[in-house]
Symmetry: C2
Subunit: 115 residues, 2 copies
Amino acid sequence: MENHEHRLDLAFTALADPTRRAIVARLCRGDATVGELAQPFQIGLPTLLKHIHVLQRGGLIASAKTGRVRTCSLTPAGLRSTDDWLRAHIASWDSRLDRLETHLSRIARDRSQDD
Amino acid sequence: MENHEHRLDLAFTALADPTRRAIVARLCRGDATVGELAQPFQIGLPTLLKHIHVLQRGGLIASAKTGRVRTCSLTPAGLRSTDDWLRAHIASWDSRLDRLETHLSRIARDRSQDD
DNA sequence: TGCATACTTCGCCACATGGAAAACCATGAG
DNA sequence: CTCATGGTTTTCCATGTGGCGAAGTATGCA
């Protein structure tokens, strides 16, 4: 079984490219075929195919082929897992700040009592 | 001024490495010097320095040197900007699903009225 | 059967990345 | 001044990435 950390690597890596983020943004508005995804960008199909594979490895999208067209769709769980990591650490930072504040205010209170 | 999209590239790229995410996680619990950050990992200082630079380019951390020690600290705005992108698109996906659901239920209702 | 369509794979290239070793500052302690 | 300490820079290497063109594969239509 693949490590959970490694999954995050692949997800963040997938999101680190503007073309791939645009693909994700596009798929938020509905499924699309490979050809439809390629249209807005000035890149060749082979390149776009690689982007799609990177997004799949990162668990952000899924795709299935019917006939000769491949339809891609968003996998919201992929976005959520990266978001979970971020929110957890933002929360961690915030709570640390809170502890620091209460600590400082307690010191201030104690000192004012010393006067 | 650097493009906003490019900023996201750098931020996501910075988070795409497990060592760098560990550094961010460490800094959530308080500032640390370069040496302190290096300790938990089995990597050389030069490599860690590069990671620090990548994190700085991504706007995730800041660092200042006093004497011969450099102290690194988290820049929460960096985490927030990436989180903003994710949450916006997760929301976009959710609202699209909602529209789809209401649309389907409306069709179902209309059809039941046809009976 | 023939042919266009829609991907897909296959090299190939230029460049970025993660890693280490070694040599190089700069500062604080004696 | 001398030297250990804490970073920093330089150089190098193996691997990965984004891009392309060309060729290959598999449908679907006529």
